[in-house]
């Protein structure tokens, strides 16, 4: 029964996608939305049933669904096989439940778009691919989902394809993730060569038993890490995610905040045994995560586009998760992934509703005073912002961030000092997070109103917002620091077999983690909250802001270092060299043979003409000789005789 539900969960959204695609143009917008929500809803239902079933079962139990053999050749085999364990259970719940809420929201949000069938086709296909990614217990099967979500992301970013900027952003996203995917593929090839199969369990078992040479391990882990970094938009691949905001807002919420971009985190958490055996890679991961966290938070601080602020914030939060993974606290990373999916989806959806009611205005400096005109959305957005900032006790983000900070503090790699440095970085990141998100909140909701506000928020959009608000506020109480209350449901869930290693951390670190967001909030209030605001930053105010605003630093750099030279090179070499050579050779042969033919013709012509002339002249001569005078003839005879005699005598 359970193993039947597992493929069913994937099949429902897939079927919905196929129905929606095939019936494009024939179904009404409502029907399309209904089918899509139904498909994802069924998936969510089966996910919940699977989760209850799994939790009721023995600890450490898994649900297995072996579907079919992908290939079986000598030296390699791969299967399409799904496994539900505790890690993937958390993920499918996030994907389907948050996915369902976003689908419901989108059914209303996109109702007036003529391309709604294409939109929902891609969205449901995305959910199906994401579920394949999450449930696969064979890395090859996982890779199918991995690229599938990339494709859907491409199609959805470029959804409004009438603007070339959108399709360019879509291509950029696909290319950058494709580079990572290729690295991941190389990692898979390496593992497959070593193990002869890509089943996760045997590979991890072999790693734990120390059967894999350490160089191979490090190489494989690095390849996988590059793939994960590209998918999760970490340095040096971060530039694609802000541009990806060109897609419809529900897409940004589902793909570019809640699920797809966290695939990298999930993959590494899944393979944490492999990474634990490659400490160098872990260190690189932690440092990359910390760096991304700070850089992205600083960039978010100077953005003026509401969606871009959220995009940079996503990158920064993913940096948090990579920091946790690099420190070995993969449970904390997964916990943060879960809470982040809720509050970031909430922020995006609320932002989408705000933008829609303001007539597609995305610049926060043209907004203001919205707390009076849309109080409901204000509450939702502030709830999301508090969770993102991690305001203590009342938000989910606080608990997951605490767990990460505790994990980083207690991690033992290289020297304890560097762990504490990373912890301080995380704390600084928390401060910046609170600062930039409340800057946004104060600019958008405080102050006097600007611009016209139309309509109200439709109920179909309000309900998902309410649900997500609830989750963003109270989703975190399942795991708490020991100082507050010894609740460790999430850790117990992930490692049920006992010894839930409580992070031993001094009480003052928890306190620091609680105070820092409040400090950020206070500073933001001082700078932007009061009227008149201290910071009257406007677009294009300072050179530093101008440089950082579109995140252009890296973008321009990449453009100059990679994109432009590559384009030039492609343009320069657009001619097919062998083709040219052959064409030239053909041309040469042709001209040579023409020249030859011409010369030959000329010679023959000359000879022929000469012959004709000589013949004519000869005949004239002969004709002149035959003049009919006997004396001449006699003279000729005598002359001839003399010559003949002379010849005879002389010879």
């Amino acid at each position: 029964m359970m193993s039947l539900l597992l493929p069913l969960a994937v099949l429902c959204p897939l079927a919905a996608s196929i129905i929606v695609f095939l019936s494009a143009g024939r179904l009404s917008a409502r029907a399309v939305g209904g089918v899509a929500c139904g498909g994802v809803g069924l998936a969510a239902l089966s996910a919940i049933m699977l989760a209850t079933g799994l939790l009721a079962g023995p600890p450490g139990g898994v649900v297995h669904a072996q579907l079919w053999e992908w290939v079986r050749v000598s030296g390699f085999s791969a299967d399409i096989v799904f496994t539900l364990d505790r890690i993937s259970m958390v993920m499918i719940l996030v994907v389907t439940v948050v996915g369902l809420l976003i689908h419901v929201y989108a059914a209303r949000y996109m109702a007036d778009d003529p391309g709604i069938a294409r939109f929902f086709g891609c969205m449901t296909l995305f959910v199906a691919a994401m579920l394949v990614l999450v449930l696969a217990s064979d890395l090859l099967c996982l890779f199918i989902g991995w690229e599938g979500v990339g494709l859907c992301s491409y199609l959805l970013i470029g959804f409004w394809h009438d603007d070339p900027a959108n399709t360019a952003a879509a291509r950029k996203a696909f290319f950058m993730t494709r580079i990572g995917d290729t690295a991941l593929l190389c990692g898979l090839l390496l593992l497959a060569t070593q193990a002869g199969s890509l089943r996760i369990e045997p590979i991890l078992a072999a790693t734990m038993a120390g059967l894999v040479p350490s160089f191979t391990l490090i190489a494989a882990a690095s390849f996988v890490l590059v793939g994960a970094l590209a998918k999760s938009a970490q340095i040096p691949f971060q530039t694609w995610l802000p541009d990806a905001m060109a897609g419809p807002t529900p897409t940004s919420a589902l793909i570019h905040a809640a699920t797809m971009v966290t695939a990298g985190i999930y993959l590494i958490a899944r393979l944490h045994v492999l990474f634990a055996a490659a400490p160098v890679v872990m260190a690189v991961m932690a440092v990359t995560g910390a760096l991304t966290l700070l850089v992205a938070a600083c960039t978010a601080l100077v953005q003026s586009d509401l969606k871009r602020i959220l995009a940079w914030s996503t990158i920064s939060q993913l940096g948090y998760m990579f920091l946790a993974l690099g420190c070995g606290a993969w449970q904390a990373a997964l916990f943060h992934l879960m809470t982040h999916a809720c509050f970031k989806a909430l922020l995006f959806l609320a932002a989408g509703a705000i933008i829609m009611r303001l007539g597609h205005e995305q610049d926060i400096f043209r907004m203001g005073g919205l707390r009076r005109t849309m109080p409901g959305l204000g509450v939702a957005f502030v709830a999301g912002a508090s969770a993102l900032a991690g305001l203590p006790v009342v938000t989910a983000g606080f608990y997951s961030k605490e767990m990460i900070l505790a994990g980083v503090w207690g991690s033992r790699f290289m020297t304890p000092l560097s762990a504490h440095v990373l912890w301080a970085t995380g704390l600084l990141g928390a401060f910046l997070t609170a600062l930039y998100i409340f800057r946004c909140v104060f600019i958008v909701f405080a102050g006097e109103g600007k611009g016209a506000v139309s309509g109200g928020t439709p109920r179909l959009m309000a309900v998902p917002l309410a649900c997500l608000t609830f989750l963003a506020l109270f989703g975190g109480i399942i795991e708490m620091p020991d100082v507050i209350a010894p609740v460790h449901l999430f850790t117990a869930l992930l490692s049920p077999s006992g010894h839930p290693s409580p992070m031993h951390e001094p009480g003052w670190t928890v306190l620091a983690g609680a105070i820092v967001p409040l400090a950020g909030l206070a500073v933001a209030w001082v700078l932007w909250g009061r009227t008149p605001a201290v910071m009257r930053e406007m677009p294009q105010q300072a050179a530093i802001i101008r440089l950082a605003r579109p995140g252009h630093g890296m973008d321009v750099l990449y453009d100059h270092i990679f994109v432009q030279p590559l384009r030039l090179l492609v343009w320069l070499t657009r001619r097919d060299v062998p083709d040219r050579l052959v064409a030239q050779a053909g041309w040469l042969t042709r001209s040579a043979s023409i020249a030859l033919a011409k010369t030959r013709k000329d010679i023959l012509d000359t000879v022929a003409r000469r012959t004709a002339i000589m013949t004519a002249e000869g005949s004239l001569l002969l004709g002149w000789m035959q003049n009919g005078r006997v004396r001449w003839y006699a003279g000729w005879v005598a002359g001839g005789l003399c010559v003949a005699l002379a010849v005879v005598m002389l010879s």
């Binding site: 695609f21 494009a24 143009g25 079919w68 053999e69 992908w70 290939v71 079986r72 050749v73 000598s74 030296g75 390699f76 399409i80 090859l140 890779f143 199918i144 991995w146 690229e147 599938g148 494709l151 491409y154 199609l155 470029g158 394809h161 009438d162 603007d163 070339p164 399709t167 360019a168 879509a170 291509r171 696909f174 290319f175 494709r178 580079i179 995917d181 290729t182 593929l185 190389c186 090839l189 390496l190 497959a192 060569t193 492609v570 343009w571 070499t573 657009r574 097919d576 062998p578 083709d579 052959v582």
Partner: protein
């Protein structure tokens, strides 16, 4: 009754009838303007039935060679009409038929000028291809090899586009040049066998057992390789392909890309690797280098093309590089990957050419900058185009990825750096495929957009079948691989079984 000769003769006979039906007096008498098309369709349906019989007669792999046919032709020279079918030839014949049917449904009905001759030539090419896939007498093989060349030459030269004469000539000269080298090799091999055994024969199985010195076998293998390399094509001799594909009429482009290129891959498996295993193993490093060069060079040039058909053509050079890489990776895995790649490439690129041909027919241009976005006007055509473009960029879950993955894995066993280089081709393929998508399908609408007819449902069904094949090939390649395993010329030895290891 043995179905093998029927498989070869049926298209020729049907083509002849179509030619007759297409003559003006006959057409007037029949009062059907597309009589040749109908006859060609019927021929293909019949052919499919015959092939179905041939497939079902040997459901289980009782023995590697599924059917034999033999009849003396020139006994004094040891030449016979000898046809044999194994899984590889069967799979490739299926591919040919599917593509031919798709061509008929999508591309050839509109050919009005000399429709009879056109369909005759199309079916004659098909007969040549099928014969090539079946012949196990080297002389007969050479005969079919040349047979498929001539009608294709005429198709390009007469029904092609603006620069057709030059393209046709280039195609003919290159293929013919390679073919002559192969003829030399065939004769050389026969003479070596005659010298060793005293028997003059062109029989593939007998010749496979010829004892050869390393130098001689290398030389003979290179002769074969030259012909197949031109057909596949391998990079320095790919020159004919972009022109021929671009200038050919749609149906001929599909046949060229979908099937004719596969004869090159088929020949390499059947006559290079299996006939001269040692020489092929020694040649493998160079061949793999050529394969990687092809992957990167084709993809690179594809990125800079503005002509839709040229872009697809260079993309197929890149894909065939994977085939070469797989065949010479000297492992069953690579071979299987190459075969899957051939099938998937035939379907995806063939379908892309169909789509490109339909666009050209409607817009009268192949320049991507002038076509503009078609999604609003033709959603069906565009969605098909997007699907096949995505397939050709190697999306996991579709056929091309299955082939590429196996080839890369087999290559990784031989040399990881080569595999990494080859996988760079995947990034490049994303660039050209998405450039195609974002220039003509999902793009801002072009300036002068007159209302255009989208694909009707019937044509969409044909494309839908191809899509379904690609999805199945990508998600469940194992049955195809079991089905299409090539058989070795040494049926009794253990080495033969290894060729299609399970």
């Amino acid at each position: 009754m043995n179905p093998l000769p029927a498989l070869v003769l049926l298209p020729i006979a049907g083509g002849g009838v179509a030619w007759l039906a297409g003559r003006s007096r006959m057409a007037a008498a029949l009062r059907v303007h597309d009589a040749p098309w109908r006859i060609a369709l019927m021929t293909l349906v019949l052919e499919t039935l015959v092939l179905l019989v041939a497939t079902l007669r040997h459901p289980a792999h009782a023995e590697p060679w599924m059917a034999h046919f033999s009849m003396p032709w020139v006994p004094t020279m040891g030449i016979a009409v000898r046809l044999d079918m194994d899984g590889l030839s069967l799979a490739l014949i299926w591919l040919s038929l599917i593509l031919c049917l798709a061509c008929l449904f999508l591309a050839t009905r509109q050919v009005m000028a000399n429709g009879g001759v056109f369909h005759f030539l199309l079916l004659a090419t098909l007969a040549g291809v099928i014969g090539t896939f079946l012949a196990t007498d080297l002389f007969l093989f050479f005969f079919f090899w040349e047979l498929m060349l001539v009608p294709m030459f005429v198709l390009i030269a007469v029904w092609g586009h603006e620069d057709r004469q030059r393209a046709a000539l280039k195609f003919f000269l290159f293929t013919q040049g390679g073919g002559l080298l192969m003829l030399l090799s065939i004769l050389g091999l026969v003479m070596m066998h005659y010298r060793a055994d005293g028997v003059l024969t062109f029989d593939y199985f007998a010749l496979a057992a010829t004892p050869l010195s390393p130098t001689v076998s290398m030389l003979l293998m290179l002769g074969f390789f030259a012909a197949f390399a031109v057909k596949l094509p391998v990079v320095p001799v790919h020159v004919w392909l972009p022109d021929a594909h671009t200038q050919a009429p749609t149906a001929a482009s599909v046949l060229l890309a979908g099937i004719l290129l596969k004869t090159g891959g088929y020949g390499m498996i059947r006559f290079n690797v299996m006939l001269f295993p040692d020489a092929a193993a020694r040649f493998a490093p160079l061949a793999m280098g050529l394969g990687v060069a092809g992957i990167l060079y084709g993809a690179w040039l594809s990125c800079s093309q503005d002509d839709v058909k040229r872009l697809i053509a260079y993309g197929s050079i890149s894909h065939m590089g994977f085939v070469l890489l797989g065949i010479f990776s000297s492992s069953p895995m690579g071979m299987e990957g190459a075969i899957v790649q051939m099938l998937a490439h035939g379907l995806s690129t063939g379908a892309l050419f169909l789509v490109a041909g339909s666009i050209e027919e409607r817009m009268h241009t192949r320049d991507m900058r002038r076509i503009g976005g078609l999604w609003a006007a033709m959603p069906r055509l565009s969605s098909a185009g997007v699907f096949f473009a995505v397939a050709s960029l190697g999306m996991p879950g579709l056929g091309n990825f299955a082939g590429e993955f196996l080839v890369l894995l087999a290559t990784w066993h031989v040399s990881p750096p080569v595999a990494v280089l080859a996988s760079v081709g995947l990034v490049l393929s994303a660039i050209y495929a998405l450039r195609l998508v974002n220039s003509i399908f999902l793009a801002p609408q072009g300036g002068s957009l007159q209302p255009m007819a989208d694909f009707p449902a019937r044509q969409m069904m044909a494309l839908g079948c191809i899509m379904a094949f690609l999805v199945v090939l990508g998600l469940y390649p194992q049955p195809f691989m079991t089905f299409s395993a090539p058989s070795s010329p040494f049926p009794t030895t253990a080495a033969g079984r290894e060729g299609h290891a399970s």
